[in-house]
């Protein structure tokens, strides 16, 4: 299960390097994601741009890590390929998460919020 963390500013980006987020790795995904979290980080982004296929078990694992992080922390998703986007839409879970089309879009959004905070 290839899941790696890269911090960009205050954002902990968790990149899923697997092409398939399916039933066979759903449990490992949850475990590995939890291992990559820490108390201090407040904002996590799951980068799914490498994931070409996700089934309902994979979706369940994403929901599980979101619940694990809880209300106190922010969890967003970035980089949905068409197949993965379809699963979020059909299950209506796209309305549960803040989803950025690309990682660039996510970073631009975070930069804009930081600028606003600096200005005020």
């Amino acid at each position: 299960m290839e899941l790696v963390r890269e911090d960009i500013g205050n954002v902990a980006v968790i990149r899923c390097l697997e092409e398939r987020l399916d039933a066979i790795i759903a449990v490992q995904f949850k475990d590995r994601f939890r291992d990559l979290t820490d108390e201090a980080s407040q904002h996590f982004v799951l980068d799914m741009s490498r994931v070409q296929f996700m089934d309902s078990s994979g979706l369940g694992a994403v929901v599980a890590v979101y619940k694990f992080l809880g209300r106190e922390k922010r969890f967003d998703i970035a980089g949905l390929t068409p197949m993965v986007e379809r699963v979020f839409k059909l299950t209506r879970m796209d309305s549960v998460f803040t989803i950025y089309k690309t990682m660039d879009e996510m970073l631009a959004s975070v930069a804009a919020v930081n600028d606003q905070q600096k200005a005020s």
Partner: protein, 162 residues
């Protein structure tokens, strides 16, 4: 030969049959093979994606419910392409479906509180969204599931029989 048996034309199959063990690992490798074969059948990437999702969900259910802990069970997957549809038949020798019928599948409630968000139960909902025919029969000691998925015509326009 494919449906258009003209000389010099590339062979294009319109049916696939696979037999594999009722394990998650075999489901995954079968899905990767099916994806390639559907490409050879000249389905669009969008259609391949929908078929793959339906089959993965149905086969996950076979592995996790009907044939749970029975890696010795063999699953049979038959796919056939006719105009505007991909028909799928999945046969397994596992436990029958509860109530002898496939579940309806429920939509998740995205407005649910964080702790109440569902982590599962999306499988049948996805199957029913994408397959417009779902038939289940218990035949002897086997489950037979028939799914039909509407697809766009092939990239090169494989139409109905002339």
């Amino acid at each position: 030969m494919g449906k258009d048996g003209k000389a010099g034309q590339t062979y294009r199959p319109d049916a696939i049959a696979l037999r594999f063990a009722a394990t998650s690992a075999d489901v995954r490798s079968s899905m990767i093979l099916v994806r390639k074969m559907l490409g050879v059948m000249e389905l669009s990437q969008d259609d391949i994606g929908r078929v793959e999702l339906v089959l993965a969900e149905a086969l996950n259910n076979v592995v996790e419910h009907a044939c749970v802990d029975r890696a010795d069970h063999l699953v049979l997957l038959d796919l056939s392409h006719e105009s505007g549809r991909l028909n799928c038949r999945i046969c397994d020798p596992g436990n029958p479906m509860p109530g002898a019928q496939p579940p309806d599948g429920h939509k998740a409630d995205p407005t649910a509180a964080l702790d109440d968000l569902p982590e599962g139960g999306f499988g049948w909902m996805l199957i029913r969204e994408l397959a417009d025919v779902v038939k289940y029969q218990r035949v002897g000691d086997e489950n037979h599931l028939f799914l039909s998925i509407p697809i766009a015509s092939s990239v090169n326009g494989l139409g109905p029989h002339p």
